[in-house]
Symmetry: C2
Subunit: 256 residues, 2 copies
């Protein structure tokens, strides 16, 4: 029975996709059976594996609006334990189309519940907004993992995000948990981020993962080769940190 994790933060460019792709790949390397769901119309998690969805190609949109069955939109990747449900431009219209659906916030949950028995974890890469797509992801998920950059605008958005999580718990899904906060794009050269990270660790305590992800150019290069970092350059700091993050995730969830 898979655990479903939404990787979400409405602030743009904080490392949601980079975390979804590399955490999924690292967990698969540890032989967990993983499904990565690209739920962002930008389709970045798909292109991280060299998959470009043209209009009409089987993708998450078609399962969402029930044109295809959930198992018909799954693709294999280079990693034996990692499958992908890609996204593309079709998803842009989904947000407007879903508005008039009955149970509009539960469509992704319906799709993913049908796949839970096949996987250990299902990771959802969310778009940079708190609209209907992210709402669907939060309703479908057992927990939310928040990639957080230690900069002013990103910090400011955190309280809105946590309020949204509270509202989802109250109105749709009482069991939604906070999986944790992962500090991303940590730039060792600046005092700003050191001070901010200390404050976050004090406030959120155990909820912040010990493993943080440093800024590492190889992480930004890997997607142009259609590979997660551990297949592009496993020796780089970025790939190593995501392997450590996966190990920490497994440890935190083993004790439950």
């Amino acid at each position: 029975m898979a655990k479903i994790i939404a990787i979400a933060n409405q602030k743009g460019g904080v490392g949601k996709t980079t975390t979804a792709v590399n955490l999924a790949a690292s967990l698969a390397a540890a032989e967990r059976r993983i499904l990565l769901v690209d739920f962002d119309p930008q389709g970045n998690a798909s292109s991280a594996f060299g998959v470009q969805c043209r209009l009409g190609d089987a993708q998450i949109y078609h399962a969402l609006v029930q044109e295809l069955r959930p198992d018909e939109v799954i693709q294999r990747t280079e990693l034996s334990h990692l499958d992908l449900i890609p996204a593309g431009q079709d998803l842009v219209g989904a947000e407007m189309e879903l508005v008039s659906f009955v149970g509009r916030e539960r469509q992704l949950s319906r799709v993913l519940d049908a796949l839970r028995d096949e996987y250990d974890e299902i990771l959802i890469d969310c778009p940079p907004s708190l609209g209907l797509l992210t709402l669907n992801a939060l309703v479908a998920a057992d927990s939310i993992l928040v990639p957080l950059q230690a900069e002013f605008y990103a910090m400011e958005g955190l309280s809105h995000l946590l309020e949204t999580v509270d509202r989802v718990r109250e109105n749709y899904h009482p069991r939604l948990q906070l999986e944790g906060i992962v500090m991303t794009l940590v730039d060792g050269r600046t005092r700003l981020s050191d001070q901010v990270i200390r404050e976050i660790r004090n406030y959120f305590e155990k909820k912040v993962y010990q493993t943080d992800i440093p800024r590492n150019i190889r992480l930004a290069e890997a997607p142009s080769h259609g590979k997660p970092a551990l297949l592009y350059d496993i020796s780089c700091r970025g790939a190593q940190r995501y392997l450590e993050l996966a190990a920490e995730y497994i440890e935190r969830n083993a004790s439950e």
Copy 2:
């Protein structure tokens, strides 16, 4: 008669708000009369001036749904030639509310047309998506300025953005121009971005501004003090480059 410019790119975290805030401030320093419209529910352009919109405070949402007149949502800033229309959480719901409006893509245009005579330029900071809010901004605008980061995911999104601009021209607004592309977060230390920037300049030629914006930590620090960079630390490279960008914008538009 103001020129209206949408600062847009659906890729998250590429410097839309940083460009909107600092270009607006630099143009105001050059004595142009500027209105900055925060059109992102995150409200980052508002907090860059120390303005926090609580639910119910007068903001762009209220003019959009006609609860307030356009002139009733304008605020002064520390800069005499720069006014701000702030945004806050009320705007989150606007996207879903607008779906059922007649002329749903023209609501912002209606609001800003009423203000055109008061300003030389009206800049719109857009959210990281191609939904109804960004569509409203593109329909209201005379031109679009695209902040572009020289990284794989951001580059990949550029073709979708330009396709969306073409669709807006065909269906809603034939006169929408491309103001230009501004290279942002330029990191001199990496080969990846040098190579990518050369390709972009070759392909888009004159459409790419000569002035690019380097990564400069002072630009990320300024918003936590509620000031644009030229008021926080005018001597830093970031503030200087935005002043140069404003000068290049004025030169490009003078010759028309």
